[in-house]
């Protein structure tokens, strides 16, 4: 039995390793504390030790034991911080710039996926938008997938258990996060922040394809978009509601 679900990204293993690192420290601390807590319960019970000693603990020679423990705790804390900071930087701060950009937008209660259209940018009018229940976002393997995360109505949270990544999506903001998948497969994208009545049903998929499969899939999508767009002018990718307009107006200032 695996503690974690199957890992499918480059940085996933780092998160798992971090868990085991912290677990080591925590286990040591736990064992020591349990001994310190339970040993006196036997040794100094009323029967074995009817007369208690008078120790106020204000003396340095007594308090130094607590100090040692605290210093140990502080040191292991900072080792953990030091060890994990690289992972944090890699995942959250150093988002790569090259790769395939996709848009993931949370709405009540579905994830809307945007593929870049002909212009290679997401969230423009020629995007290919997939807005169906249980839809799939196809991405190629071993490529940086740069996800632009947005929310249209309320706060949602993109959670990819297999990619070990998660980020809130907030109305009015765009968060750019990334993942690089190393395994072909079909993985869940769920919403991890309560977002209304059907929060429990908010689940779509990311499908990791080989490069060839992905190209084929995209070619089919573009062809379909062309045939759909041919007779009439391009429809806006995302319905520009009054809300979106006013944000934009605010934006120009």
């Amino acid at each position: 039995m695996n503690i974690f679900p199957e890992n499918a990204t480059t940085y996933g293993q780092e998160i798992d390793n971090l868990f085991y690192l912290i677990l080591t420290f925590v286990a040591i601390a736990f064992v020591i504390s349990v001994v310190v807590l339970f040993y006196p319960m036997f040794r100094y019970s009323e029967k074995r030790n009817p007369k208690a000693q008078y120790i106020t603990g204000e003396k340095k020679s007594h308090f130094k034991w607590v100090m040692y423990a605290l210093i140990m705790l502080a040191m292991s804390d900072f080792i953990i911080m030091y060890a994990e900071h690289g992972t944090w930087e890699k995942i959250e701060e150093d988002v790569p710039t090259d790769g395939i950009r996709v848009g993931i937008t949370g709405i009540q209660w579905n994830w809307v996926f945007n593929y870049a259209g002909k212009d290679g940018k997401v969230m423009t009018a020629d995007d290919i938008v997939i807005n169906e229940a249980n839809s799939e976002l196809h991405v190629p393997i071993n490529t940086n997938i740069i996800m632009e995360l947005r929310a249209r109505d309320v706060v949602h949270d993109v959670f990819l258990p297999n990619a070990r990544t998660k980020y809130d999506v907030i109305p009015g903001r765009t968060h750019v996060k990334w993942a690089n998948f190393t395994k072909v497969g079909k993985y869940e994208v769920v919403c991890s922040q309560i977002c209304g009545v059907l929060h429990s049903k908010m689940r779509n998929y990311i499908v990791v394809d080989t490069k060839e499969d992905y190209d084929k899939y995209m070619a089919a999508l573009y062809a379909k978009q062309d045939s759909a767009n041919a007779p009439k002018p391009a429809a806006p990718a995302i319905d520009t509601t009054a809300k979106a307009d006013s944000t934009k107006a605010a934006d120009k200032k």
């Binding site: 307009d245 006013s246 944000t247 934009k248 107006a249 605010a250 200032k253």
Partner: protein, 200 residues
């Protein structure tokens, strides 16, 4: 105790003053939180400067003046109450209440001017034009001045009740406590004035 010495033991500070200071610290954090939120948004949206032009600096200045004067009268009331000049203390407290009323009157004239320009709590016309960010300034303006006005009313009520009480010779020490609350209301306004009326 002799004049001009600090209380060296915390227990020499009377209960009422201690409680009042605690209440004031709590109130300052509530107002301060609101002001901090406003400031954060004010820095985020420089275009709010253009909205602040619609507030009347003259009315704001007069109101500041009124509140400062009323603070002065309530502190005189405390001074007189300590000398047991109940009648004069009551007179000064009455003047403070008049000051508060004047403040509220001026405030309501201001409000009516702004509302007639369509600048309301939600400013629906602005939102419809897609200028939601600007309407947010007015939401902040009304919530901050409104909450302050509620405190003015609360302070006036308190002062009125205590004015009645000291007429019967009771609770003379409470004049000072009501005064402290009134000063707190004054403090908040002193900070709101540059924020809303001067920084344009």
């Amino acid at each position: 105790m002799s004049n001009n010495t600090k209380a060296l033991d915390i227990r020499q500070v009377p209960q009422g003053r201690l409680a009042m200071w605690t209440l004031i610290a709590g109130e300052l954090i509530i107002f301060g939180g609101l002001i901090a939120v406003y400031l954060l948004n004010r820095i985020r949206y420089p275009e709010w400067g253009a909205e602040a032009v619609h507030t009347s600096t003259m009315f704001g200045a007069i109101n500041t003046c009124v509140l400062l004067l009323s603070s002065f009268t309530i502190v005189l009331a405390h001074n007189e109450a300590n000398k047991n000049n109940i009648k004069r203390a009551q007179l000064y407290m009455f003047l403070t209440i008049v000051g508060g009323l004047a403040f509220l009157c001026i405030k309501s004239i201001e409000y009516s001017r702004e509302i007639s320009e369509g600048l309301t709590f939600t400013s629906p016309a602005m939102v419809a034009k897609g200028e939601g960010v600007k309407s947010l300034f007015w939401s902040f303006y009304y919530i901050m001045t409104g909450l302050h006005a509620l405190h003015v009313i609360a302070g006036m009520t308190t002062i009125f009740i205590i004015m009645m009480q000291i007429g019967k010779g009771k609770n003379i020490h409470r004049v000072e406590l009501a005064g402290m609350y009134w000063h707190m209301v004054d403090l908040v306004w002193i900070f709101l004035f540059p924020l809303l009326y001067i920084a344009k």
